[in-house]
Amino acid sequence: MKRTVLYDTHLSLGAKMAPFAGWEMPIQYPAGPIEEHRLVRRSAGLFDTSHMGRFRVYGPGSTQLLDRLLTARLSDLSVGFSRYSLLLREDGGVLDDLFVYRLGEEEWFIVVNASNTEKDFAWFQQWAAKEGPVQLENLSFRFGMIAFQGPKALELLTQITTNEKGDRWTPPERFGWSWVWIANHSDLSTRVRCLVGRTGYTGEDGVEIFPPWDRTPLVWESILSSAQKLGIEAGPAGLAARDSLRFEPGFALYGHELSEDITPVEASLLWACDLEKPFVGREAVLRRKEKGPKEKLVTFVMEEQAVPRAGYAVTDEGGNTVGKVVTGLYAPTIDAFAGNAFVPTDLAISGKTLYIVVRGARKKARVVKRPLYKPAYRT
C-alpha cells in the first residue's frame, strides 16, 4: 500500500485511513464527512490528492501527440490555462478522465486518476514511441497535490502568497494556473514554490496546488495555521466528503460513472469531446452518437427514504431490472438520498420514476435534472 507524503500529517489530525486505489488515504477526519462537506460549501476545506497521477509531456511533437490522444482540443488552449479531457481507446471506451495544463508551447502537465496512473502512463508511452521524439515523465512522486476548495479558499491564499516577481499573487481566472510562492502567515521566510491551478472537483471556487513532494506538508500546515490566525474557517476534508462534493455538481468519478465499457455518449460527456478534430476513439464516438446509446447516465433522488449504494439494481414499474446504480449516497447540501445510474434511454428523462432495490425491497426514486448543485463559479 502506497502512502502520500502527508500520511503522518493525517494521523496527527486524527484521520481514519482506508485503502483507495492502492493508497492508504484519509477517508475522514474527526469532524466527519458530512461536516467536512458543509465546511467546503460554507468556507474552505483542504484535501490531500497526492495519490493522483501527475505526468509531464514535453518536447517537439508533444502538443500534436496529446491533441491526437485527448478528446479536448489543445491547439487553442493558451499557455497558462488548463482543460478537462477524456482519454479514449480506439473503440471509444473511456480509459480515463483527466486535467491537462499547458505549461508551454510544447510542454504539458497532466493529472490523472490514481487508479489509472500506470495504465495511462503506459498508453502515453506506447503512442510517444510510435509518433516521435516526445518526452514523458511520471512526476507522481516528485510533486504532491493538495486541493484547497471553498468560497473562502482564495481569500486566505491571497494573503500568504506572492508571484514570481515577489508581488502579491493575483489568482488567475477559472482554469488558469500560475507559479506561486506559498508562505506561512507568521513566517514569510519559509516559502514554497508551487504550481497552482484554479481548478477543483467540489463545485466551489478554489485551487489545486502542486508543491514539490517533500515540501507538501509545509504547504498543508501553512494553509491550516494561517487560516486559524486570520480567522478564516478551514479544515481538512477526506475522501468521503470529496465524493459527495463531486457528486452534487455532477462530476464523474472513474470506476463509477466512467469505465472502459462505456463511451462519452452514455456518460453525457460529449461536451468534453471536440468532434471537429481527429482523436483516438472519435470514429467510435461518432458511430455511437449516430446510432443512439442504449443506456444513459441519470441522476436520481430517492422519494422513499432509503440509502442507494453503488451496485444496487434499478428496476422499472413492472419490477424488471433495467440498470445499475454507480454512485449512491446522502447528499448533504440538498439533504437527500441520491445517486447516479445507467438506465435505458427511454427512462433517462427527468421526472421518470425508477425503483432502487435496497436489500430486496424496491424503493421509489425520481430522475432529476443535472446537476443537483450548480457550481458556485458558474454564473
Binding site: K16, I27, Q28, G32, P33, I34, E35, A240, S244, Q305, A306, V307, R309, L329, Y330, F337, R359
Partner: protein, 127 residues
C-alpha cells in the same frame, strides 16, 4: 471512547438497558465511531417478535450499511421515531437519545449472558 457501565453489551456492539422486563436497545459508542456519520436507520414495526441474535434493523452510515442484532428475544414495543428526522443522534448520544428500540423480553435471563462494560471494553481493545 465511552463504555456506559449501566448497560450490558454483546460482541456485535449492541447494548441493552434493563428496566424490569423491558429493555432499551442501542449501539455502542465504539460502534457509532467505527461506522462514522449515520445517515439513516431502518427499524422494524412495533409488535415484531425477534429472537436473540436476529438482525432487526439496519444502520446506514456514509460508509456502509450494517445490520443491528437483537441482544435479547422478545417483542418490539417501541421504536425511536426521532431517528427518522435526526439519525445523527446515534453519533451524538449513542447511550441516550440515539437508542433504537424497546424490547419486552420473553426470556429476561438472556440479559445475564451479555457482557458487562468492563468485559466489553476488554473485548473491543482486543479487536
Amino acid at each position: 471512547m465511552t463504555y456506559d457501565p449501566d448497560v450490558k453489551y454483546q460482541k456485535s456492539h449492541e447494548w441493552a438497558r434493563k428496566d424490569g422486563t423491558l429493555f432499551t436497545i442501542g449501539i455502542s459508542d465504539y460502534a457509532q465511531d467505527s461506522l462514522g456519520d449515520v445517515v439513516f436507520v431502518e427499524l422494524p414495526e412495533k409488535g415484531k417478535v425477534v429472537q436473540k441474535g436476529e438482525a432487526f434493523g439496519v444502520v446506514e452510515s456514509v460508509k456502509a450499511a450494517s445490520d443491528v442484532y437483537a441482544p435479547l428475544s422478545g417483542t418490539i414495543v417501541e421504536v425511536n421515531s426521532k431517528l427518522k428526522e435526526d439519525p445523527a443522534l446515534v453519533n451524538r448520544e449513542p447511550f441516550g437519545a440515539g437508542w433504537f428500540v424497546k424490547i419486552q423480553a420473553s426470556n429476561p435471563t438472556e440479559y445475564e449472558e451479555l457482557l458487562s462494560a468492563t468485559e466489553y471494553e476488554a473485548f473491543v481493545k482486543g479487536l
